[in-house]
Symmetry: C2
Subunit: 264 residues, 2 copies
C-alpha cells in the first residue's frame, strides 16, 4: 500500500514559517484535510483534492483521512501552528485507536510546525525562556474546575503560562475568570502579553499587566502569555516599535548571576 497520512503543522500564518518538510508533503499529497481556513492555506493544484470541514468535526475529519490513506491515497491533515498542540494530531490518534485495526499498519506521521506559542513568544522577546506551561482555556473538552485548578497550581509553581483559545463568543466568561484567578494568585504587576494573529497582516501585540488587562483584549485568534514572577520588560528606543521587549531570565534566585549554560 502506497498511501500515507501525515499530520502537518502550517505554522501560525506566514508562509515563511512553514518548514521545508511540510512543503514537500503538501506538494506530494493527493488530499488535504482540515478546518476550512487551514485547508485554504494550501494552494489548489491539479491532482490535489482539498477537503475543508467545520471546526467541530475533528473526529469525523480524522476518520475520513484514515479511510483515504487506507485506500492508498497520500493524505495531509493540516493544522495551524503545531499539529500536536491542541490541534489535529490527538484527534487522529483518538480515531485511529477507536477504529479499524488495519489502520494501525498505516504509515501515519506527525510533522511539527511553529506553534502559536513559540511565534507569540518570539514576537515580544523571550517570555518563555524559563520553565513554563501551556493551557487550553476552552472548556469544550474538559471541566472548567480543572482549568482553574491548573491555573492556581501553575501560579504556585511560578511557571510562565501560554494560553490557547482564551475567549470565544460561546465562552465570554471563562477568560474573565482566568484573569481574576491570576490577578489573585500573581498580583497586579505581573506581565501579560496579548499576541493576536502572529505573523499575519493582522498581527497585533500588546504588553500590559494583570492589573490593567481586560477580557476584551483577547479573542480566539489571540495567544496570551502571562509571565512568571521573574519576567521583565525592556523599553525600546525605537519609534517603529512601541511595545517593549518581554523576557524571562534563565536564572532564578541565588544563581541569578551565573553565566553558565543550560541551553540544549
Amino acid at each position: 500500500m502506497s498511501g500515507w497520512l501525515k499530520i502537518v503543522g502550517l505554522g501560525p500564518g506566514s508562509d515563511q514559517l512553514v518548514t521545508p518538510e511540510v512543503s514537500v508533503v503538501l506538494a506530494e499529497a493527493t488530499d488535504v484535510v482540515g478546518y476550512v481556513p487551514y485547508v485554504e492555506r494550501v494552494a489548489p493544484r491539479a491532482g490535489l483534492v482539498r477537503h475543508g470541514s467545520d471546526n467541530r468535526e475533528e473526529i469525523q475529519r480524522a476518520e475520513q483521512a484514515l479511510m483515504m490513506a487506507a485506500e492508498g491515497r497520500r493524505v495531509a491533515v493540516v493544522s495551524s501552528g503545531d499539529p500536536g498542540v491542541f490541534a489535529m494530531a490527538s484527534a487522529v490518534f483518538e480515531a485511529l485507536e477507536a477504529g479499524d485495526a488495519h489502520w494501525r499498519s498505516l504509515d501515519v506521521q506527525v510533522l511539527p510546525g511553529i506553534s502559536a506559542m513559540l511565534a507569540a513568544s518570539a514576537s515580544v522577546g523571550a517570555p518563555l525562556g524559563h520553565d513554563f506551561c501551556c493551557i487550553n482555556l476552552s472548556d469544550n473538552l474538559k471541566p472548567w474546575a480543572l482549568i482553574e485548578k491548573r491555573l492556581r497550581l501553575a501560579a504556585e509553581a511560578d511557571f510562565a503560562m501560554a494560553f490557547y483559545n482564551p475567549r470565544s463568543r460561546a465562552r465570554p466568561e471563562g477568560f474573565a475568570r482566568t484573569l481574576e484567578v491570576l490577578l489573585d494568585a500573581c498580583g497586579p504587576e505581573r506581565l501579560i502579553v496579548f499576541a493576536r494573529a502572529v505573523s499575519t497582516p493582522d498581527e497585533v501585540i500588546r504588553v500590559t499587566t494583570l492589573g490593567e488587562a481586560t477580557p476584551e483584549m483577547a479573542d480566539m485568534r489571540t495567544l496570551v502569555i502571562v509571565g512568571s514572577s521573574q519576567t521583565r520588560r525592556i523599553e525600546r528606543q525605537n519609534s517603529e516599535q512601541n511595545e517593549p521587549w518581554v523576557y524571562t531570565p534563565r536564572s532564578v534566585g541565588a544563581k541569578s548571576q551565573a553565566s553558565t549554560s543550560s541551553a540544549v
Copy 2:
C-alpha cells in the same frame, strides 16, 4: 545604522526543519554567533564570519553579538530548536538590559524554530496534545529545590511534562531524583518517552513507563516527555516501527466523548 541582531532557531537538527525566514537571515548575515556545534550547522561562505564559543559563555556571546550589531553588522545568533526555549534569546535580553543604553535602539528580533519538545512529541505521536508544562532539569541556573517543587505541582496539575537537559556528566543524580519524584507522584504505569537526537541520523526513540525507566536512558541530547494520567499508547502493526504511538486525548473526564474542537 544598517546593523541588526536576529536570534534564530535552527530546529532540532534536520535542515528540513529550518524555517524559510531563518534561512533568509542566515544568507543575509555578516556574522553568525553561537555555541560551536550550532555555528557549524551554518555553511561557510564568502562574507560570513562564524563566531563559535563554548557552552558556558552565553552572556559574553550575547554582548559580542550586540556590539557587532551596534557597529552596523548583520548578526545572527543561532540556537538549536527554538531560541526562546532554554536557549540564547533570554541571554541576549539579559545582556541588552544590563548593557549600553544605545543597544535598546537596535533592531533585535527573535525568529522562532521547531523546538526539541515539539519535534520529540511529533516523533511518537501527540503526547503534548493536551495541557502540558516544560521544565529545564539543569540546576546550573536555579536551585534544585525549585525544580522538585515544580515537578510535584506539575504532577498535581496532571500536566504532561517535557524535560530539557535531563542529565549530564556534571549532574548525574538530578535525573535519578526526578524519576523518583515522578514515580512517587504519578505511579509506575505512567508513560515516559526518551527522544534522543530527534531528526538527526542519531535519532533514537524509546517509549516505556516510570516503573521501567532508568536514569541511563537519558543524556544531554535527550528530550524526555512524561505523559499525563490520560496519555495512552497504541501498538503499531508495522514491522519498520517498533515503538508504539503515544498521544494524549483532547478531552478529560465527563467531556471525553465530545467531538467539539478547541484547536486554534
